[in-house]
Symmetry: C2
Subunit: 115 residues, 2 copies
């Protein structure tokens, strides 16, 4: 591959996300198939009221909210986030998401590269 | 540490960046000192006309432009980016940055965790 790869998020197809309701979508912006060595960057969009049910996994999240407002529940603690908030969620932490605002909630979420 | 860490970027102190001119700043949003296991998230701000001179290093970048416009030169190829663009820069690629727009250029840049 070249020394770089560039894409506008709007040019990346959306995919549905399991374990959600209300039309949550994901776009894989920078991912293993373009040759990233260590971590992958995705963009999530939650329409008003949409949610992702609590779940856990062995990898961490690093999240940055671009637009809108949401609630990320970690264990039994609700954490409200808005544009400009960065959040780290530990591996194995139980976590769920809900758009609690009045517009789309859009955030970047970085994870370790999948095997 | 807790199962999560949250911070608004505006609450993170800015630091100057070497190898730049025009008042470039960095904020370390999610970093090794809060216990991230694999990668660190920073936010850069380039005032109008500010630049970072070309350099290379052994780690990759994953960049997402939040606001404004800039030019990222990889090797001798200029790549223009704007809000919503994601970009991957390979390890060891020569790269430099310049705000080519008329407002602040603000972007997220994720790197592997420093030793």
């Amino acid at each position: 591959m070249a020394d770089y790869y560039k894409v506008n998020y709007k040019d990346v197809p959306t995919e549905d996300v399991s374990g959600t309701e209300g039309g949550v979508s994901i776009r894989w912006l920078l991912h293993k198939d373009i040759g990233v060595p260590h971590f992958e960057m995705r963009l999530f969009e939650f329409p008003v009221g949409a949610k992702m049910f609590p779940h856990r996994h062995s990898w961490e999240h690093e999240i940055f909210t671009l637009e809108g407002e949401g609630r990320i529940t970690v264990g039994d603690e609700p954490v409200d986030v808005k544009a400009g908030d960065a959040m780290f969620i530990e591996p194995q932490a139980l976590h769920g998401y809900e758009n609690t605002g009045s517009s789309v909630w859009k955030f970047i979420c970085v994870i370790p590269k999948r095997d």
